[in-house]
């Protein structure tokens, strides 16, 4: 299949975007295009109308406060990776953004697009869940714990627009992933953070229902925030994805290894293949 014709609408304000969406209930939103356009090229999505969000002021940019980094929905992966604020305050997040896809993809793909799509193997869901981010939309604020529902499914309403994501600044964080040899998406990616007594361990690429928290890992690390604390712990293989490249058991094993490597390389994002 090839890209089918559609009408492109380019609002310059959020209000205009909402109005256009109301008038065109089969419309899809477009940000960097690196999720929607490939899907449309394969004929898997054929919206007759596409509403481009990239001309809306205020949706792009990175702001830092004392305890949070706020990233606008249409901010590019490359911008997050290169941001001095993110590099100093949440280096694992900057590293994660810098490991998405390849450098050309990072020059177009956006955080809002990635989170709205919720690909079960994407990196940002692990960061959002792993840092306890808040996804702010045009109508409400959603805690990451409530945001991710299942594969390619989020709590967003069909016409809801993400405007920014607020990442609390942790005391420490790390990310490690093992990549699929062809797609280069994660088959096991683990984002770990600690803020005070709270420890979060978010796993992407592996769960049969998308990104999830490995609560047994969190409990062990909350008591003893060292890689060694994870000794002998595993996530439940039966809840994991399976394909030619990785069985459930292998994925569970990789989740464990990636969690340990995230712990031994805190303050960075590590990529293995």
């Amino acid at each position: 299949m090839v890209m089918q014709p559609f009408r492109l609408l380019r609002p310059t304000s959020l209000a205009e975007a909402r109005t256009l969406r109301e008038k065109n209930d089969e419309a899809s939103f477009l940000s960097g295009g690196h999720t929607l356009l490939p899907t449309m090229k394969q004929g898997l999505a054929r919206p007759p109308v596409v509403i481009d969000l990239t001309r809306i002021d205020g949706l792009r940019g990175i702001a830092a406060s004392a305890d949070a980094i706020t990233i606008g929905a249409t901010t590019l992966h490359a911008e997050v990776a290169a941001s001095e604020a993110v590099q100093t305050k949440i280096p694992a997040l900057a590293g994660l953004a810098g490991s998405i896809g390849d450098r050309h993809v990072r020059n177009r793909g956006t955080i809002g697009g990635s989170l709205a799509n919720n690909d079960p193997a994407a990196d940002y869901p692990a960061a959002a869940l792993g840092l306890g981010a808040t996804i702010v939309t045009d109508r409400r604020e959603l805690a990451a714990d409530d945001y991710f529902v299942s594969l390619f499914e989020t709590a967003l309403e069909p016409d809801e627009i993400i405007t920014r994501i607020v990442f609390p600044i942790p005391d420490a964080a790390g990310y490690a992933k093992f990549r699929h040899p062809a797609s280069r998406y994660s088959i096991a990616g683990v984002f770990i953070s600690r803020k005070g007594k709270d420890v979060r361990v978010a796993v992407t690429g592996a769960g049969a229902r998308g990104v999830f928290r490995a609560t047994n890992f969190e409990q062990a690390l909350a008591k003893d925030f060292r890689a060694e604390a994870l000794e002998g712990l595993t996530v439940d293989p039966s809840a994991l994805l399976e394909d030619l490249i990785a069985t459930k058991e292998y994925r569970a094993h990789l989740v464990h290894v990636m969690a340990r490597r995230a712990m031994t390389h805190l303050g960075s994002a590590q990529s293995y293949k």
């Binding site: 299949m1 090839v2 890209m3 089918q4 014709p5 394969q42 004929g43 093992f178 040899p181 062809a182 797609s183 030619l244 490249i245 990785a246 069985t247 292998y250 094993h253 990789l254 290894v257 293995y272 293949k273």
Partner: protein, 788 residues
């Protein structure tokens, strides 16, 4: 015969002429061409691996926007289209002669461009839609209603052997199209009977696809004014395609003009006619408009001709000192749903004994039809498979019988004194220094430092696996080639029938021509790929091009020099014996009088020239050569294995390749690099996987099909060796496929070496981190239990 001292261009790493246009976006790939008024084609493809076609309803599709026509197999047959004449059975003098059971002819099922009866593989085109825009054509293709009656299907070649397997062709009793035995059964059995040791191996070299980065494309234009078809389409040989497409359209070959200029990679995938090539010609005539087709990458994954897929069951008999006495092998090839080329099975059959002096062998060669995409030649057709089998088996013998794997090989190599060496399946190796190549390779690879590197890797938690493989491969190819040499006012044109897709013929053939004619390299231009100019030629495959081209160019040069001497003699007014040709100049022996090629060309049409000599200064020469040549070499690699994850990282790769005379080392090293990558890709990441339950292929895109990339390959150490072949004037063997031939074998050798502490284990290609991790886990578990 050749005066090597005159070589100014041959042997030099001259930079390529092709590059200026390719580096500046001025290439001429098929999709770059457009014709006014062109319309677009899209294929309706079977979702079933095997299904009867009970009817095709065009109504809904025809009603869609922009749609001009829908064509089915019934339409094609009604309009007199014939099946594609693939001529799949290799038939040069030295090809191993494959037959059906009992010596019967191989049954070639008709390859209709659109089948009227059944779809025989997932993705097979059963109808074609033509519309104003490409998007309209693809959308309308979804609306064509095909009444399929799904039939039982078979994908695995071992299952297809059975008499009970679903049958692809009603004319056959089963799916077995090739079943032939070769070799010396009696002496082989005797050797096995008296052998001190016998080692065996069953293995599968799986199915891969070429993934040339340019997807297939074709643009056809039928001109009613002269009744000719012009088809822009990349292929492995424009002349061959012209004949095949004319055969489908049932017209005289001269009615068809093929234009194949720049081609974005071939590797064998483009060597045979794709159904859409004659179909767009047909549609163009029906509609009176140019018709264009461009495949999506997902269509390429599904319907490019695929490669390999060979099951091997091989045994080696050795004496107590490790001397190889005999080899027995059964090779089963999966040709897919159409017999497009039996080259892989045939080529491999001639090389089952590899680089080794094994006096007796038997081969049972079989090929089956299955409900999968047809396979045909792919980079080093057939040779990586048999090299994998013999080299893996020798590693196994070394392990089980406690021989050093290098020593075991050394003592059994064919020696230079034995050349030309007739092997046990009838191939005569022309020349080679196999042991010297091993020594060169061990030095290049710093084999002496291996143990140190193993220790260093261990200190970082990695296991270093070290692999080694020898190889010998064959280059046969279409036996005929033609060269036209034309002297223009300031340049010389070579017209030749090879078909490069990156091998640099415009450069390397210019080097050959320049030195033969004594002209500067810059003054030679090579014309390829337009069949209105290129009248004959064998295309490019099997490493044939430089050998055939350099030979026919040498012959043509001789003819042209002879013509030049006659012309010069007339102009000088002397007998022809007094004319001396040297360094591109025709001179009189004793006097300071000379004429250049361009002087002669400027005068050759003059009224003063006798009629029998008058005309443009040009020659045409045909040549036919059947004798194969045998490039050969040795390679090694080192792979770091992450014990925790099973991940593999190739850290070193070295190869020594005897290519015969190397015309351009820059180009030949590049061929080796690319060849290595393709062979490594098969070993590590590439697989055309088919779901066993449904028969549906699952590797539909680059998301599933792993490729060699910048970040999963090392830089290579490659060394060229030139042991001239006695079979052709330049002594050329071939340089295009030696990189691939031993690559799967050497990767497996390294991994089996690295994982030896976790034996025993089973391992088949591709070697994924999952498979490695599983072996490590099971091995560690056994070690734990042993200690308990």
């Amino acid at each position: 015969m050749l005066n090597e001292r005159a070589f100014k261009a041959v042997g030099k790493p001259l930079r390529r002429k092709e590059d200026l246009r390719l580096l500046t976006g001025k290439g001429h790939f098929t999709d770059d061409f457009n014709l006014p008024g062109q319309v677009w084609a899209a294929m309706v493809r079977s979702p079933h691996p095997h299904a009867r076609i009970n009817g095709i309803d065009k109504t809904a599709a025809l009603a869609m926007p922009g749609v001009l026509a829908v064509y089915t197999g019934a339409d094609c047959i009604a309009d007199g289209l014939k099946p594609i004449p693939h001529s799949p059975v290799p038939s040069t003098k030295y090809d191993v002669k494959l037959t059906g059971r009992g010596g019967t002819p191989v049954f070639i099922g008709a390859h209709d461009v659109l089948p009227p009866d059944k779809a025989r593989h997932v993705g097979e085109a059963v109808a074609m839609v033509v519309a104003e825009t490409r998007a309209q054509a693809y959308a309308a293709a979804e609306a064509v209603e095909v009444d399929y009656e799904p039939l039982p299907s078979v994908a695995d070649s071992r299952e297809a052997l059975s008499a009970d397997a679903p049958k692809l062709y009603d004319e056959m009793q089963d799916n077995v199209l090739v079943d032939a035995k070769f070799g010396d059964a009696e002496n082989t059995e005797k050797a096995f009977a008296r052998a001190a040791h016998v080692v065996s191996l069953q293995t599968h070299i799986g199915r891969v696809t070429g993934v040339p980065l340019e997807p297939r494309a074709s643009l056809a234009f039928y001109d009613p004014a002269d009744g000719r078809y012009t088809l822009y389409a990349g292929s492995g040989g424009a002349v061959r395609q012209k004949h095949e497409i004319a055969g489908v359209l049932d017209v005289e070959p001269e009615t068809v003009r093929i234009i194949a200029l720049d081609i974005g990679g071939n590797f064998g995938t483009r060597n045979r006619t794709f159904v859409e090539f004659p179909l767009v010609c047909y549609a163009s005539k029906k509609l009176g408009k140019p018709v264009k087709f461009r495949a999506e990458r997902s269509e390429s994954f599904l319907t490019d001709y695929q490669g390999r897929d060979l099951f091997v069951d091989i045994s080696l008999a050795l004496d107590k000192d490790g001397k190889f006495l005999a080899v027995k092998t059964a090779n089963l090839s999966n040709v897919g749903s159409r017999c497009v080329s039996l080259s892989p099975l045939s080529k491999g059959s001639g090389l089952i004994t590899g680089s080794y002096n094994i006096p007796y062998a038997t081969l049972h060669a079989q090929a089956v039809y299955t409900n999968t995409m047809p396979t045909q030649a792919y980079r080093s057709s057939g040779r990586p498979e048999v090299t994998f089998a013999i080299e893996r088996l020798i590693d196994k013998a070394a392990r089980e019988l406690d021989f050093d794997r290098l020593d075991l090989r050394r003592r059994n190599l064919v020696t230079p004194a034995q050349m030309p060496y007739p092997n046990a399946t009838g191939m005569t190796y022309d020349s080679g220094e196999y042991e010297a190549n091993m020594d060169r390779l061990l030095a290049l690879a710093d084999w002496a430092g291996v143990e140190e590197r193993r220790k260093e890797a261990r200190s970082r938690g990695k296991i270093l696996g070290v692999g080694f493989a020898n190889y010998v491969e064959s280059s046969i190819g279409s036996p005929k080639e033609r060269a036209d040499l034309i002297i223009h006012a300031k340049s010389v044109e070579l017209v030749i029938g090879t078909q490069p897709a990156g091998q640099g013929h415009e450069t390397s053939f210019a080097q050959v021509t320049a030195d033969l004619l004594g002209l500067p390299f810059e003054s030679v231009n090579v014309t390829l790929g337009d069949t209105d100019i290129v009248s004959a030629g064998g295309g490019t495959h099997s490493g044939r091009s430089m050998r055939h081209a350099s030979t026919v160019i040498a012959l043509a040069s001789g003819d042209l020099i002879s013509k030049g001497e006659k012309l010069a003699a007339h102009i000088f007014g002397v007998p022809v014996e007094e004319v001396k040709f040297e360094d591109g100049i025709f001179r009189l022996a004793d006097r300071n009088v000379s004429l250049s090629w361009f002087d002669l060309a400027g005068r050759s049409n003059g009224p003063d020239i006798p009629v029998e000599l008058r005309g443009d200064l040009k020659v045409r020469r045909d040549n036919e050569m059947h004798t194969p040549v045998f490039p050969n070499g040795a390679c090694s690699c080192e792979i770091e294995i992450d014990i925790e994850t099973g991940a593999l990282d190739i850290v070193r790769y070295a190869t020594v390749d005897d290519v015969g005379r190397c015309i351009n080392p820059l180009i030949v090293h590049g061929q080796t690099h690319g060849g290595i990558a393709q062979g490594v890709g098969q070993a590590m990441w590439e697989e055309c996987h088919i779901d066993p339950g449904s028969g549906i292929p699952t590797s539909g895109s680059l998301m599933d099909y792993g490729m060699p990339r910048f970040d999963n390959l090392p830089s290579f150490k490659t060394q060229i060796v030139e042991v001239l072949s006695p079979t052709n004037p330049f002594g050329v063997k071939a340089g295009g496929e030696g990189g691939t031939t031993p690559a799967p074998a050497v990767i497996m050798s390294a991994v089996e070496d690295g994982l030896k502490e976790f034996r025993p284990f089973e391992l088949e290609l591709p070697i994924t981190s999952l498979k490695v991790w599983t072996i490590i886990q099971q091995g560690l578990q056994r070690q734990k239990e042993a200690r308990a």
